[in-house]
C-alpha cells in the first residue's frame, strides 16, 4: 500500500471510530445536550426555577466569577464532582427564543459595552469584536471555529526564540481537547495539521464562501479542510441541526452552535450549581495576611454583597480578570492582587486578523451558511525561509451587511461611492487570517483615571505591534490575495483587524514570569484560580475557546483529585 493510501485509511478509521462511538460516556460526564427541551423551545426554564440558591453568608466550596467559556466549564465540572458552586455573572440569563434576534444591529446587547479606553500605537477596538456578557459569555456570539493549538505552540521560546514556553505540554492537554470536542460537539474533516486527529461529527456542507476557499487552495496546491466548527451535524441529545442561516455571531437561536449556555450550564444546574446573574464582581477578598481568598464582593440590584467560599476562581476574560485583580488591591497586595511581580495585565494578546475580500462575477452570497466553514493551517508553523517567526491560519469569514459596510468604508468609500459599492455585496467572498502576534510585556491592561457607573476605575488597554507582528500580517494578507485570485477573483480588498483576546494573567513555571501555574492556581494565593483566556502564555494561530475550555477541564480534574488527596502538588504533573 502506498503512503497516501495508508494515510487515508488511517484517517477514515479514526473518523469512523469517533463518529460511530457511543455517546454514553459523554452523557455521563456532561448531560447538557439531553437536558435541553425536546419541544422546540431552546432552554428548559424549570432548570432556572428549580436552581439551588445559596446564601451569601454560607461558605460554598467554590465561587466562580464569570460564566463564559472558562467559567461555565469549571462550574459544570465542579458541581458534577459534588462541590457546592456559585457562579457570579455580570450579565443576564439568556433565552435564545426571546432575547436573541436574527439581526446584526439588534444583537448589540450581547456584547460587553461598559466603557474601556484603548491606547498604544495599534489600539484594539473592544465591544462586539471582543467580548460578551451574560450566561455563555463570549461563546454566545463566537463564530464557533474550534481548532486545537499545535504541539509547537507550547515551546516557542525554546524552539523559535520568541514568545514564551508553557508550563505544560500539548500532551498534557490532549485528553481534555478530546473530551471538550465531544461535548461541543465538533464537526469537521479529518485534521492533518499539528497533532492530526478526527472529529466526532462529519463536516457540514459549504456555502459560496467556503467553496471559494476550497477552490483557491486547490488551485494553489494548498491544503484546506471543512471545519472544525462547534456546530452539531447529527444526533446529539436535543440539539437540533444547523439551518445554515449564517447568524452565528448574533447567537444561535437554533441551539445548533455550541455556547456554554447550552453545552455546560444545563448539567451544572442539574448538579446543584447556582448561577447568580446580574452580579458584578468588584473585588476578591482575602484574609489580612493575603494568604487565602475568602470570597468575592459583588454588586447586585445596587447593593453590595460578599459571597464567601473556600476556593475562588476568576473567569472574567482577558480585560475584566486583570481589572478585577488590580481593583482588589489591599494592604498585602498594594499593586493589585497576585501582582507581586508586576505580571497582572501584562502580555495581553490579540491575533492580527486582516480580512481580504475578493470580487467574483458569480454570486457568492456569503451570508448563507455559518461564517465558520473552511480552514487552512499550512502556514501555521515557523517557516525557516520567512523573515518572521511563527505564522498564521486562514479561515472563511462572512460579513453581514453592517460588517461589510465597515470593509467598504475602510477603503475610503462614502456617499454615492459607498452605496454603489455596497450594492455589489453578493459578489464578494471574504477570508480572514489569524496571525500569531507575540506576547509583549508593554501590551497590557492597567487602570485608567476614568470610572464606570459603579465608581470603579475602567481598564486602559495598551496595544502596540512589533516588527515580527507586522511581517506576519503582511504575509497572511499576500496569501489571502493569492488564494482569492487563484479562485477567480478579479479584485481584492483588505481590512486590518484584530481578533481573540487572550493573556493578561499568564501561566508560567515560576511566579516571576506569570500569575498562575499550569493547574491555573495563582502563585500568590493558593485557593485562588484563574480559569479563562487570560492564562494563555502564547496564542498560536488558533481560535482560543477550545483551548480555554480544555485548560479548565484539566484544571478541574486536578482540583477534584487534589481535594480527595489533600492539597495538590504545585507545578508539573
Amino acid at each position: 500500500m502506498s503512503g497516501p493510501v495508508r494515510r487515508r485509511l488511517r484517517e477514515a478509521a479514526g473518523t469512523l471510530r469517533l463518529t460511530a462511538s457511543s455517546q454514553k460516556a459523554v452523557r455521563q460526564r456532561n448531560a447538557s445536550a439531553w437536558l435541553l427541551p425536546e419541544d422546540g423551545a431552546r432552554f428548559d426554564h424549570r432548570l432556572i426555577e428549580h436552581m439551588r440558591r445559596f446564601d451569601d453568608t454560607e461558605e460554598v466550596d467554590l465561587v466562580v466569577v464569570g460564566c463564559g467559556a472558562g467559567g461555565a466549564t469549571l462550574t459544570q465540572r465542579m458541581a458534577h464532582a459534588g462541590w457546592s458552586v456559585v457562579c457570579l455573572e455580570a450579565g443576564p440569563f439568556w433565552d435564545p427564543d426571546t432575547h436573541w434576534v436574527s439581526d446584526e444591529a439588534g444583537s448589540h446587547h450581547l456584547y460587553w459595552t461598559e466603557p474601556r479606553v484603548i491606547s498604544g500605537t495599534d489600539p484594539v477596538p473592544m465591544g462586539s469584536n471582543n467580548s460578551g456578557r451574560g450566561v455563555g459569555g463570549s461563546t454566545v456570539h463566537f463564530a464557533g471555529f474550534v481548532p486545537r493549538l499545535h504541539p509547537s505552540d507550547f515551546s516557542t521560546r525554546s524552539d523559535d526564540g520568541v514568545g514564551a514556553d508553557w508550563p505544560i505540554r500539548y500532551e498534557d492537554l490532549r485528553p481534555s481537547y478530546e473530551r471538550i470536542e465531544q461535548e461541543l460537539p465538533v464537526a469537521g474533516q479529518y485534521w492533518p495539521w499539528g497533532d492530526p486527529h478526527a472529529y466526532p461529527h462529519a463536516p457540514h456542507p459549504v456555502g459560496g464562501n467556503g467553496e471559494i476557499l476550497l477552490r483557491g487552495a486547490d488551485a494553489l496546491g494548498l491544503n484546506a479542510r471543512v471545519g472544525p466548527v462547534a456546530i452539531t451535524n447529527g444526533r446529539f441529545g436535543n440539539r437540533p441541526h444547523c439551518i445554515y442561516r449564517g447568524f452565528c455571531l448574533q447567537g444561535c437561536k437554533v441551539n445548533a452552535k455550541a455556547s456554554t449556555l447550552i453545552t455546560h450550564v444545563p448539567d451544572a444546574l442539574a448538579h446543584g450549581a447556582e448561577i447568580r446573574t446580574e452580579a458584578m464582581a468588584v473585588a476578591v477578598e482575602t484574609d489580612p495576611q493575603g494568604r487565602r481568598a475568602l470570597g468575592v464582593r459583588y454588586l447586585r440590584n445596587g447593593r453590595e454583597h460578599l459571597q464567601r467560599a473556600r476556593t475562588v476562581a476568576v473567569a472574567a476574560y482577558s480585560i475584566e480578570t486583570p481589572r478585577l485583580l488590580l481593583n482588589s488591591a489591599n494592604r498585602r497586595f498594594p499593586d493589585g492582587l497576585c501582582n507581586d511581580h508586576d505580571q497582572v495585565g501584562r502580555h495581553l494578546m490579540v491575533q492580527g486578523a486582516p480580512q481580504t475580500a475578493g470580487r467574483f462575477a458569480e454570486e457568492i452570497r456569503a451570508y448563507k451558511a455559518p461564517p465558520p466553514e473552511v480552514s487552512c493551517e499550512d502556514f501555521y508553523e515557523t517557516d525557516p525561509a520567512a523573515d518572521f517567526k511563527r505564522g498564521y491560519a486562514i479561515q472563511t469569514v462572512s460579513p453581514l451587511p453592517i460588517t461589510w459596510a465597515e470593509h467598504v468604508a475602510a477603503q475610503g468609500h462614502w456617499g454615492h461611492d459607498l452605496r454603489r459599492y455596497m450594492q455589489d455585496y453578493v459578489h464578494w467572498a471574504t477570508l480572514g487570517a489569524l496571525c500569531e502576534l507575540l506576547p509583549l510585556p508593554g501590551n497590557r491592561v492597567t487602570l485608567s483615571g476614568q470610572k464606570d457607573r459603579h465608581g470603579l476605575p475602567v481598564a486602559d488597554i495598551a496595544y502596540s505591534q512589533c516588527d515580527n507582528d507586522r511581517a506576519v500580517v503582511r504575509a497572511a494578507r499576500a496569501t489571502m490575495e493569492r488564494l482569492l485570485r487563484a479562485a477567480g477573483a478579479t479584485e481584492v480588498i483588505t481590512i486590518e483587524r484584530y481578533a481573540h483576546l487572550v493573556g493578561g494573567c499568564r501561566m508560567a513555571a515560576r511566579p516571576e514570569d506569570g500569575v498562575v501555574d499550569g493547574d491555573l492556581r495563582s502563585f500568590a494565593v493558593p485557593n485562588l484560580l484563574i480559569t479563562d483566556g487570560s492564562v494563555l502564555p502564547t496564542q498560536g494561530s488558533a481560535n482560543p475557546a477550545l483551548t480555554i475550555m480544555a485548560l479548565v477541564d484539566r484544571a478541574a480534574e486536578r482540583l477534584v483529585a487534589g481535594a480527595r488527596g489533600g492539597p495538590p502538588e504545585r507545578g508539573r504533573p
Binding site: V101, P125, L418, H427, E491
Partner: protein
C-alpha cells in the same frame, strides 16, 4: 406586520439605488420571521422617537453630515432611512461600542465636539452660520478635507478617529434598515426559515438575482 410597511417605500432614492434588485423587497418575508426578530426589524420602519440627544443646531449639522456620508439625497419628502434618529437614540441611551480611543472623548462628547467643529469650518471657510446651510457640494468638500487628513489633527482630534466615529455610526444605522438590504440584495433575517441552496451561484426562491452585475471597482485596484 405588513400593515406597518410604508406604501411603495421599499427603496431609498439616490443616484445609485435600485438598479440591481429593482423588485426585491425583504419585507415580503416578514411572515416567515420569528416574532422577536420581526419586532426588532419592523420597529425600524415605525415612526422614530423624537430627538433626545442632539440640540437643534447639532441636529441640523448631523442630519446634513449623514445625508452626505450615505448619499441620502432624494428630493424633500422622499423615503429616507432615519439615520439621524437612529444615531440620536443610541447616543441618548449611551449605547456605545464599549470603548473609546485614548485620544478621543466618550462617543457622545465626541459627536458634540466634531459637529461643532464642522460648523466652525463652515463659518471660517464660507461665512455660514451652520454646516447645514452650505450647498451639498460645499459640505462634501469639508467632509473630504477631514478624511484626507488621515492621522493628522483636526480641531485638536486625530482626524482618522473622527472619521472612524462618523462612518461607524452612520453605516451601522443605515445598513440595519430593510430598505438598505433591498438595495444590496440581502434577504435579512433567516430564522426559522434558514437556507437550503448553498454554494456559488445558487439562490433560494426568495432571493432575487442581481439584475445589473456591474463591477464597482471597474477592474481597477483599490486595495
Amino acid at each position: 406586520m405588513r400593515g406597518q410597511r410604508p406604501p411603495a417605500g421599499h427603496r431609498v432614492p439616490s443616484g445609485e439605488s435600485g438598479r440591481r434588485y429593482p423588485h426585491f423587497d425583504v419585507l415580503d418575508q416578514v411572515p416567515d420571521w420569528d416574532p422577536a426578530t420581526a419586532a426588532t426589524v419592523v420597529g425600524r420602519l415605525a415612526r422614530q422617537p423624537d430627538l433626545r440627544f442632539f440640540t437643534p443646531a447639532e441636529e441640523a449639522t448631523a442630519g446634513a453630515l449623514f445625508d452626505r456620508l450615505l448619499a441620502q439625497d432624494g428630493p424633500p419628502g422622499a423615503p429616507k432611512v432615519p439615520v439621524l434618529q437612529m444615531v440620536d437614540a443610541r447616543l441618548a441611551e449611551a449605547q456605545t461600542d464599549g470603548w473609546r480611543y485614548a485620544d478621543m472623548p466618550e462617543d457622545g462628547d465626541a459627536w458634540r465636539t466634531t459637529l461643532a467643529a464642522l460648523d466652525e469650518d463652515a463659518a471660517e471657510q464660507h461665512g455660514a452660520a451652520s454646516f447645514a446651510d452650505l450647498a451639498p457640494e460645499r459640505q462634501k468638500e469639508l467632509i473630504r478635507a477631514v478624511q484626507d487628513l488621515h492621522g493628522k489633527a483636526w480641531h485638536g482630534l486625530p482626524a482618522q478617529h473622527v472619521w472612524s466615529l462618523w462612518t461607524r455610526y452612520a453605516c451601522t444605522a443605515f445598513y440595519a434598515h430593510p430598505w438598505a438590504w433591498n438595495e444590496i440584495g440581502f434577504p435579512g433575517p433567516a430564522y426559522p426559515r434558514g437556507y437550503q441552496r448553498l454554494g456559488v451561484g445558487l439562490r433560494e426562491p426568495f432571493e432575487a438575482a442581481d439584475a445589473d452585475p456591474v463591477d464597482p471597482t471597474g477592474g481597477r485596484g483599490t486595495g
